[in-house]
């Protein structure tokens, strides 16, 4: 039940386009004592059905710029392979700390960004 609630709350955040993983992964690690890699794996798989639904809606409305997407995906595939193998091979405690540093940067960006 707690897990459904955690998913629900992070889903609301990601539905608003703010980034649910930044809430979901720490919640799983800090409150449910799940290994850093496993929490990240959960976030990856949770994203898939939500993203497929969102993508379908955006595609029908013509909001996707494929001219940019193609090359970014190409570079991204190489990055995703390297990043995922790195993640699954480093110590969970180190990965948690690196993740924390990454979160700190995202938080600072959200706080200090102007515009909109």
């Amino acid at each position: 039940m707690i897990l459904i609630l955690v998913g629900f709350l992070s889903g609301i955040i990601s539905g608003m386009g703010i980034g649910g993983g930044t809430i979901l992964i720490p919640s799983l690690v800090l409150f449910n004592n799940i290994k850093q890699q496993d929490a990240q794996g959960v976030n990856l798989i949770v994203f898939l059905p939500v993203a497929i639904t969102a993508l379908y809606t955006h595609y029908k409305k013509g909001n996707i710029d494929f001219s940019f997407a193609k090359l970014i995906i190409l570079g991204g595939i190489i990055g995703a392979i390297i990043g995922s193998f790195l993640a699954t091979s480093i110590n969970p405690l180190s990965l948690r700390k690196y993740f924390g540093i990454f979160l700190l940067l995202i938080g600072a960006y959200e706080l200090f960004k102007k515009k909109e």
């Binding site: 889903g11 992964i25 995906i73 991204g76 990055g79 540093i101």
Partner: protein, 119 residues
């Protein structure tokens, strides 16, 4: 190869690396990169980012899965809640002041980050 193409490949490389390494955050890289480096408008950048992060996340999911880092007993209830939550979030999007929410979100994230580093 021209500069623009190299830029796009590089944005992808960084986004894929981050998304694979942290199992999240690809969109956090792609959206501002499209807006500030390529001049795409904010709304289109969000939509395009999903089309980019989805295939990258599928690749990462496969690699995590082969390394036993996808605990399905946890993933299934979280996904269930996540699907309901994201529908609600998308509906709430135009009804609440998103700027204030972003500031609250930023503060929560910084607090969480510190706990993740010094747990």
């Amino acid at each position: 190869m021209d500069k623009k193409k190299l830029k796009l490949l590089f944005i992808g490389l960084v986004a894929g690396l981050v998304n694979g390494l942290f199992g999240s955050g690809g969109g956090t890289i792609v959206v501002p990169a499209l807006v500030f480096l390529m001049g795409v408008n904010d709304y289109k950048a969000h939509a395009t980012a999903i089309s980019i992060i989805l295939p990258l996340s599928i690749i990462s999911t496969i690699i995590y899965f082969t390394n036993d880092s996808i605990p399905f007993n946890i993933a299934i209830p979280v996904t269930l809640g996540g699907i309901i939550g994201s529908f609600l979030g998308a509906k709430l999007l135009n009804k609440i002041p998103i700027n204030i929410l972003r500031k609250i979100f930023g503060s929560v994230i910084i607090y969480t980050a510190i706990r993740m580093i010094w747990k």
